[in-house]
């Protein structure tokens, strides 16, 4: 594996009486596209929050680029399940918002240039003046992605960013996320509960268990992209394997 950029060692976390992580260890390589896959409520999003220092663990250690997350929070950027755009700002101003929040010292012209580039990269060059209410769900999520890209993070943490979108938009955005990842070389940690999504996107899948959560399976995927589940026998096989594992974790979903 490549140099680890994120590392969890025996991480422990409790919310009141409930143990979320008893002994969670994992590592993510520099430039890797990792999908964290698991049943709903298993603490996938919580793991991202720990990486981004929005939460502190109760025990064990977390290192991002070899340092404590408290020192490295500004190397990461989040893309959440909902776009979380400010309704009073245009697409361009929403991308600028991320930069304004993070670092007020950058020159205004420079910021604008970077924001326009990021919007161009996500395919919204023509819509920079539109307000969120004038954008579709997929377009809003693209703005959120541009906002993350514009702060030039080393790592992008994506928390089920496509789960609220319609199937067609989801398909298209998957492809685009992969191509942006290729172009920028950033490390992406992508949380999902969708087995197929993980198979299409990831270099490596970390399958999480129910609570108290641990990694029960690591799946390496070295097939070329773009991937199609129907065309690739190897992927179909992986999918059956994962579905079987998933069935034990979350019976209703696997049969659905």
């Amino acid at each position: 594996m490549r140099d680890p950029i994120i590392r969890f060692d025996h991480v422990r976390l409790r919310f009141g009486e409930e143990t979320i992580f008893q002994d969670l260890s994992l590592s993510i390589g520099q430039g890797e596209f990792v999908c964290i896959l698991g049943p709903s409520g298993c603490g996938k999003s919580t793991a991202l929050r720990l990486m981004g220092d929005l939460l502190r663990p109760d025990g064990g250690s977390i290192a991002v680029e070899g340092r404590d997350p408290r020192e490295t929070w500004d190397r990461l950027a989040f893309v959440f399940q909902s776009p979380r755009l400010a309704p009073w700002r245009t697409a361009l101003d929403n991308v600028l918002l991320g930069m304004e929040l993070r670092d007020a010292r950058i020159d205004r012209e420079q910021m604008r240039k970077r924001a326009v580039e990021a919007l161009d990269l996500v395919g919204l060059a023509k819509d920079i003046g539109k307000y969120p209410r004038m954008l579709s769900g997929g377009e809003k999520q693209r703005v959120a992605l541009a906002r993350a890209l514009a702060v030039e993070p080393h790592i992008i943490l994506m928390d089920e960013p496509l789960s609220a979108l319609d199937p067609n938009t989801r398909q298209r955005l998957r492809t685009e996320i992969v191509s942006i990842w290729r172009k920028t070389g950033k490390t992406i940690v992508f949380v999902t509960h969708d087995v197929e999504e993980a198979l299409v996107l990831a270099d490596r899948i970390l399958l999480l268990s129910n609570k108290p959560t641990r990694v029960i399976e690591t799946i390496m995927l070295d097939m070329p992209r773009p991937r199609s589940l129907d065309a690739d026998a190897c992927l179909t096989h992986r999918r059956q394997e994962l579905m079987a594992l998933f069935a034990n974790l979350e019976p209703e979903r696997a049969h659905a």
Binding site: G52, L76, F78, A86, W88, L101
Partner: protein, 255 residues
């Protein structure tokens, strides 16, 4: 009758009602002595007279000054107190008690106290208005802060560790529509409190004029003050507050 739109019909009824009331006033005033009910034309003539000769203009500006100054002070103090409670949760109970205390005391009580503390002057009047509208701002701004989108706040936290930036770029803009709504509400109340405050503790303004008119049994002058107050209040609300609030709500609230 040609068909009218629903809005036009409603307006017509409202206007007819106002005309009917004016007519009733005119009829009644013909039968009653002038110190009980002056005629509409006396009031109109005196209003024009007062405004054009500048006799009352000074007093109008005094009242506007009192209300504007108190609104500014009440708004800034109330918002600051609510924001303190938002960021320093330990102060929340204390602030709740302050608001409840302020809410329970009447303007006349404050006016009498203000005379003893500050004397008969502008400061007393502004103090009374400000302290009466202060809880409106505290309570409304607290409610507004509770409404700020938590997901946006968390987004801001993920991009910045400086609370000030999150406040300036996310929290404050989310409050704009609520700020205007509470200013509008407080403005209406401030006008009414101003009259009481000036009557008891002032040496200028509408309340002061009414007090003088009352002492000299000059009933038309009281009517003149009422008429002017209605006009100012209506014009401010319709020409300033209402359009501004429509704009802010459309722009800053997620609709």
């Amino acid at each position: 009758m040609p068909s009218l739109s629903l809005t036009a019909k409603r307006k017509l009824y409202a206007n007819l009602f106002v005309l009917a009331m004016l007519g009733a006033w005119a009829l009644a005033s013909l039968r009653l002595p002038g110190y009980v009910l002056p005629t509409p034309w006396t009031v109109l003539r005196q209003t024009i007279d007062f405004v054009t000769t500048g006799k009352l203009a000074v007093q109008i500006f005094a009242s506007i000054f009192h209300v504007a100054a108190a609104l500014m002070i009440g708004f800034l103090a109330g918002t600051a107190i609510a924001v303190t409670g938002y960021y320093l949760k330990v102060t929340q109970v204390l602030i709740g008690r302050i608001a409840a205390f302020l809410n329970s005391f009447s303007s006349i009580g404050w006016a009498l106290l203000a005379i003893l503390w500050f004397g008969l002057n502008d400061l007393s009047v502004i103090f009374v208005i400000a302290i009466i509208i202060l809880p409106i701002f505290i309570i409304n701004m607290q409610a507004a802060l509770d409404q700020v989108d938590r997901e946006l706040i968390e987004m801001a936290q993920s991009y910045s560790r400086r609370w000030w930036r999150g406040f300036r770029l996310i929290v404050l803009p989310s409050l704009y529509p609520f700020m205007l709504a509470s200013l509008r509400l407080a403005f209406g109340i401030a006008w009414k409190v101003a009259l009481t405050a000036e009557l008891f503790g002032g040496n200028s303004g509408f309340g002061f004029v009414i007090n003088l008119a009352h002492q000299s049994i000059n009933t038309p002058q009281i009517f003149v003050v009422i008429a002017i107050m209605i006009v100012i209040s209506y014009v401010t609300d319709h020409l300033i507050f209402a359009p501004l609030q429509r704009h802010l709500t459309r722009h800053y609230a997620d609709v």
